[in-house]
C-alpha cells in the first residue's frame, strides 16, 4: 500500500485547493471524499428525471485568485461568466444592477456607495490571503500586518475614519443613510445577509457585504455549472499529483503517542500519513472524528459551541416552460427582496423557529445558460430562499411544506403562471443541507461567518491558524479563516501554513 505524507479529508473546494497546493510542493497527498464525486457544495444533481440543478451552491463570487492561477484551472477548462442582477420588487419594473451601475433615482448614490464599499473591501481583502493575525506577539507576521495596516491607512484620513465608522455597523442603517430606493436597499440588505444567520438590522451585518465584495466584484457562473468547476479543480489536483479517492468516508482520525497519524474509513480500512488535514466541518472533525479522549476538556467543550445555524433553504424547480419574471433577463440573477424591511421581516420568524410569510430569495435559471440541463423547451429554476428555520417549531416536514408554499407564492407573484409549469419541486431545508453536505446546522460556511467567529476566532482561538491542539491534525475547510463561498482561500491558506511550519 502506498504511504502518504498527508491525508486531506473532504474533497470540497477547500480540500481540493489544499491538496493541490501541497502536492504541488512535492508532498504525497491522498484526498478522501465521502461522496461519489469531489466538489462538496459545488456540484450538480439530477433532482428529477431529465432535470439537472446545482447540488447546492449555484453562483460564486469568484475563486481565490491564488487558487485559480496556482492550480492552473483555466488550463483545465474553467471559465466564468459574470452574472448581472435583476431586482424584482412588487409591481415595479425589473431593475438591472451590474456592479455599481444601475438605473433609477439612486443610480448615482448607489454607484458612490458601491465605490466606497469596494475600496474598503480592497484594503481588507489581503487579510483573506494568509493565516489570521494572532492576539499575542509570538509568531506574528509583523511585516505583512504592517503592510496591510498601511494599506488601510492609505485610504486617506476621511475614508479611514469612514471605514472605522462602518466596519461593524448594520447594513440596514447604511442602506437608510445612503439610499432612498427600496429596491436597492433590499438588494444591499439581501446580499449582506445571504447565507448568514443575521437580519439586515443585526449588528455587524455590513462586514459580511464587505467580505463578499472582497471575494469578487460580482456573482459569477462557472461555464458548465458548479460541477464543471469541481471537475476542473479535481483534474488540476490530480495533475498536481494528488491521489483522489471518492466514496471514502472517514469514520475517525486515530492518534498514537499524542499525534494524529491516520484515518479509519467506514469500511474499516486504516490509512496512515504524516499529517491529517480536515477540510470538512471543524465541529464534526473534533467531535465525531477525533473525539474527547485526545482533546482537552475545555477545548472539546468549545468545539460544541461553534455557532453554526443555517437559515438558507435551496429550491429546485423543474419547469415545463420558461417563466417570465416581468421581462427580467432569465440569464441574470433575479433577487426578490422588495426592501430592507422585507428582508428583516423574513428573518424575524426564524428566531422563533417559524417560517416567514414572504421569504426573500436569489433565483437563477441555469437552463438559460446550460440548455441541456432540462428537456428541450423545459427549464430548471434554482433559488436560495431565506430564511428557513434551523429549528422549526412545527417539525421539519411541516416547515418545509409551509416554506415551499410561501416561496412559490412569492415566485408566482413575480412570474405569473410559474406554478402551472412546475413538473417537480424540491426544497432543501438547512437540515437536508446538513445531511447531504455535512454542513453542521446547514450553514454553508461550516460555522456562521460573523464578526465573533472571524479571524483569530475562526473556528476557535486554539485552532485559528489551521494547526489544532492535536499535533499532526490541521484544518483546511470553510470553517477556518476566511470562510466559505466556493472560494478556496481557506484550503490554500492551510496548505501555506503547513508548508511554512514544515509540518
Amino acid at each position: 500500500m502506498p504511504s502518504f505524507d498527508v491525508i486531506v479529508i473532504g474533497g470540497g473546494v477547500n480540500g481540493l485547493a489544499c491538496a493541490a497546493r501541497l502536492a504541488g510542493k512535492g508532498r504525497k497527498v491522498l484526498l478522501l471524499e465521502a461522496g461519489a464525486v469531489p466538489g462538496g457544495g459545488a456540484g450538480e444533481r439530477d433532482f428529477a428525471p431529465g432535470y439537472r440543478a446545482p447540488a447546492l451552491a449555484h453562483l460564486t463570487q469568484g475563486l481565490d485568485a491564488r487558487v485559480l492561477h496556482g492550480m492552473g484551472l483555466a488550463r483545465h477548462g474553467l471559465a466564468f461568466d459574470p452574472v448581472a442582477t435583476t431586482v424584482l420588487a412588487g409591481q415595479a419594473a425589473p431593475m438591472v444592477v451590474q456592479g455599481g451601475q444601475t438605473s433609477g433615482p439612486d443610480a448615482a448614490a448607489f454607484a458612490a456607495l458601491h465605490a466606497k464599499l469596494s475600496a474598503f473591501a480592497r484594503v481588507l481583502a489581503p487579510f483573506r490571503a494568509d493565516k489570521p493575525p494572532r492576539l499575542v506577539a509570538e509568531g506574528q507576521p509583523w511585516g505583512r500586518l504592517l503592510r496591510q495596516g498601511l494599506a488601510i491607512r492609505g485610504l486617506g484620513r476621511d475614508d479611514f475614519r469612514e471605514l472605522l465608522r462602518m466596519v461593524l455597523i448594520n447594513v440596514h442603517d447604511v442602506a437608510e443613510d445612503e439610499l432612498t430606493d427600496d429596491r436597492l436597499k433590499g438588494l444591499l440588505a439581501f446580499d449582506a445577509t445571504l447565507g448568514a444567520w443575521l437580519g439586515p438590522r443585526s449588528p455587524n451585518s455590513l462586514i459580511l457585504y464587505l467580505d463578499r465584495l472582497s471575494r469578487g466584484e460580482g456573482p459569477l457562473w462557472p461555464r458548465g455549472g458548479m460541477g464543471a468547476l469541481a471537475r476542473a479543480m479535481a483534474a488540476a489536483a490530480t495533475a498536481a499529483g494528488v491521489a483522489l479517492r471518492c466514496d471514502a468516508r472517514v469514520e475517525s482520525i486515530f492518534t498514537e503517542g499524542d499525534r494524529a497519524v491516520g484515518v479509519r474509513l467506514v469500511s474499516g480500512e486504516e490509512i496512515r500519513a504524516g499529517l491529517v488535514v480536515s477540510a470538512i466541518n471543524p465541529r464534526t472533525t473534533f467531535r465525531a472524528l477525533v473525539g474527547p479522549r485526545a482533546l482537552d476538556a475545555g477545548f472539546f467543550r468549545r468545539t460544541g459551541h461553534i455557532r453554526s445555524r443555517g437559515a438558507a433553504a435551496k429550491l429546485h424547480l423543474a419547469l415545463t416552460g420558461l417563466p417570465d419574471f416581468r421581462g427580467g433577463d432569465p440569464a441574470s440573477r433575479l433577487v426578490i427582496a422588495p426592501s430592507s424591511e422585507a428582508v428583516e421581516a423574513a428573518f424575524n420568524p426564524v428566531k422563533y423557529g417559524e417560517v416567514p410569510k414572504a421569504p426573500v430569495m436569489e433565483v437563477i435559471l441555469p437552463t438559460a445558460r446550460e440548455a441541456d440541463w432540462a428537456p428541450a423547451g423545459h427549464h430548471v429554476l434554482s433559488a436560495i430562499v431565506q430564511y428557513a428555520p434551523h429549528a422549526p417549531m412545527a417539525g421539519l416536514e411541516a416547515a418545509r411544506s409551509e416554506l415551499l408554499e410561501n416561496t412559490l407564492a412569492v415566485l408566482e407573484a413575480q412570474a405569473p403562471g410559474l406554478r402551472g409549469r412546475i413538473a417537480h419541486a424540491e426544497l432543501l431545508m438547512p437540515q437536508d443541507i446538513e445531511a447531504r453536505f455535512g454542513m453542521v446546522g446547514g450553514n454553508w460556511h461550516h460555522g456562521e461567518l460573523a464578526v465573533e467567529q472571524m479571524l483569530f476566532n475562526r473556528p476557535l482561538p486554539q485552532a485559528a491558524g489551521y494547526a489544532t491542539p492535536l499535533p499532526g491534525l490541521w484544518l483546511a475547510g470553510a470553517g477556518s479563516h476566511p470562510g466559505g463561498g466556493i472560494n478556496g482561500a481557506a484550503g490554500w491558506n492551510a496548505a501555506g501554513a503547513i508548508l511554512e511550519a514544515r509540518a
Binding site: 499524542d258 474527547p292 479522549r293 482537552d296 476538556a297
Partner: protein, 394 residues
C-alpha cells in the same frame, strides 16, 4: 415567592451539628463550602494536642463530593485528572489533582474507588460544570453527593485503638485503603486517610447514622481523651504535614481574576503525580511544554528562625529583590520550629540567600524582621506511625 427563607440561614448545618454545637463552648464558627464549621471548640492547643497525642474528631461533612459511575468512569477520570485513575485498585484511595487546558490547577483532592466503575471525588471547591463538560463523549454519570454523605476524620496516635474499642477492627487496613464495617444494623466506610500527617482514619456514613455514630465513637474513645477539633487546630497539623489547600496555597484557575495567579501542578510540587504515559489528559500538552521550558514558580518548605509565624510574609533574595511569598506558616509545637510553605520563583527554589520579611506585632506595634530562611523537605513532621502496619495500638 413569599416563603423563601434561605437568607435567614446563610450557612447550612452539618448532620453532626447538634453535637458540634453543644461542644463548641466558644461559639467560634466559620463558613466552609456553605456550612457552619467549628474553628475552635474551646482550646486550640488542647485540640492540636489531641491530634498528635490522643484522638481527635473533625467534622468533614462540608468537603465537596462527587460520585462518578459508568463504564467509562476510569477513562473519564484519566482524561480529567493528572494521576492514573485506572491504576487505583478497587478499595483504594489516592491523592490527585486536575487542571484546565492550560495546565493550571483547578483543585486537588482524594479519589476513592468503590468499584470498577464507581469512584468518589472529594475536594475543596465545587466543579460540577467542569466535571459535566469533561464528561462530554464519555459514558459516565457525574453527580454531586456532598449532602448524601456524613463524614468524620478521626486522627491521632490513638485512633486505631479508639476504633477497636468502638467495635471497628481496622488493624488490617493499610494506608490509602478503605473497607466497609458494620455499624448498628447498617454499614459505614472507613478509609485510612487524613489531613494531619499522622495515624488516622476517615469515617463515611449516611446522614441518619451521623448522631448515633458520633455518640458511639465518643463513648468508646473517652478513655483515650477523644476530643472534637476545629479548623484552627487542623490547619496547624496540616502545615506540619506540609499539605496544601486550594485557595489558601494556590488559587484555582477557574477562580483566579489575575492572569498570573494560576499555578500548574509542576509549580505546586505535584509533578510526581502526573502520569505522562496514560494518554492525553486535560492540560497535558501545556504541562509538557512547561516541563520543556521550565516552570516559573516552585513550592518550597521553609525553616524560619525564631518563633514568629511568617504567615503572609514576602520573601526576598539578598534582602532586596522579591522572590516569593509565604502561603502558610506556623510555629510547630511538634518540631519546636517556625515552619512555612511558600511559593518562590523557580530560580530561588534552592533557597540560596533567601530572606523573609516578617511584620511581628508586639503590643500594637509592628516590628519588621528580616530573617534568613532555609529550604527544607516537606512534610516537616512525618512520624513513622503514619504508615505503620499494623497501626499502632495504645
Amino acid at each position: 415567592m413569599t416563603n423563601l427563607t434561605h437568607f435567614r440561614t446563610p450557612l447550612r448545618h452539618t448532620p453532626f451539628h447538634p453535637r458540634t454545637a453543644s461542644a463548641n463552648r466558644l461559639n467560634r464558627w466559620g463558613p466552609w463550602a456553605g456550612c457552619m464549621t467549628s474553628l475552635c471548640y474551646g482550646d486550640v492547643d488542647m485540640e492540636y494536642t489531641a491530634i498528635r497525642n490522643a484522638a481527635s474528631v473533625y467534622d468533614l461533612c462540608p468537603m465537596v463530593k462527587y460520585r462518578v459511575t459508568g463504564p467509562d468512569a476510569a477513562d473519564y477520570l484519566n482524561r480529567l485528572m493528572i494521576r492514573n485513575a485506572a491504576k487505583l485498585p478497587v478499595g483504594g484511595v489516592h491523592y490527585t489533582a486536575w487542571c484546565d487546558d492550560d495546565g493550571k490547577l483547578l483543585d486537588d483532592g482524594t479519589l476513592f474507588r468503590h468499584g470498577p466503575e464507581d469512584y468518589l471525588i472529594c475536594c475543596q471547591e465545587r466543579h460540577l460544570p467542569w466535571l459535566l463538560d469533561s464528561a462530554q463523549g464519555f459514558d459516565v454519570q457525574v453527580a454531586e453527593i456532598t449532602e448524601e454523605i456524613a463524614a468524620l476524620s478521626l486522627q491521632g496516635p490513638c485512633s486505631a485503638s479508639v476504633l477497636a474499642a468502638a467495635g471497628l477492627d481496622v488493624s488490617a487496613l493499610k494506608p490509602f485503603r478503605m473497607a466497609r464495617f458494620p455499624f448498628a444494623g447498617g454499614e459505614i466506610t472507613i478509609s485510612r486517610t487524613g489531613f494531619t500527617g499522622d495515624l488516622g482514619y476517615e469515617l463515611w456514613m449516611t446522614p441518619d447514622q451521623a448522631l448515633p455514630f458520633w455518640d458511639h465513637l465518643f463513648a468508646a474513645g473517652a478513655p483515650w481523651g477523644i476530643r472534637p477539633i476545629g479548623t484552627d487546630a487542623l490547619d496547624l497539623a496540616r502545615i506540619e504535614a506540609g499539605f496544601i489547600i486550594t485557595n489558601m496555597d494556590f488559587v484555582p484557575a477557574h477562580q483566579a481574576l489575575r492572569e498570573d495567579r494560576p499555578r500548574s501542578p509542576l509549580e505546586m510540587g505535584l509533578g510526581w503525580m502526573i502520569d505522562w504515559e496514560k494518554g492525553n489528559f486535560t492540560g497535558r500538552r501545556a504541562l509538557l511544554a512547561e516541563k520543556a521550558q521550565g516552570s516559573e514558580w516552585a513550592l518550597v518548605g521553609l525553616d524560619v528562625p525564631g518563633n514568629v509565624s511568617a504567615e503572609g510574609s514576602i520573601l526576598y533574595h539578598d534582602k532586596k529583590h522579591e522572590a516569593g511569598f509565604v502561603t502558610a506558616a506556623a510555629w510547630s509545637p511538634a518540631l519546636k520550629a517556625s515552619v512555612a510553605i511558600a511559593q518562590v520563583k523557580a530560580r530561588h527554589a534552592g533557597g540560596d540567600n533567601l530572606w523573609v520579611e516578617i511584620y511581628a506585632l508586639r503590643e500594637l506595634q509592628y516590628v519588621k524582621l528580616m530573617l534568613p530562611v532555609r529550604v527544607v523537605e516537606r512534610p516537616f513532621y512525618n512520624p513513622a506511625r503514619r504508615r505503620a502496619m499494623p497501626p499502632e495500638r495504645v
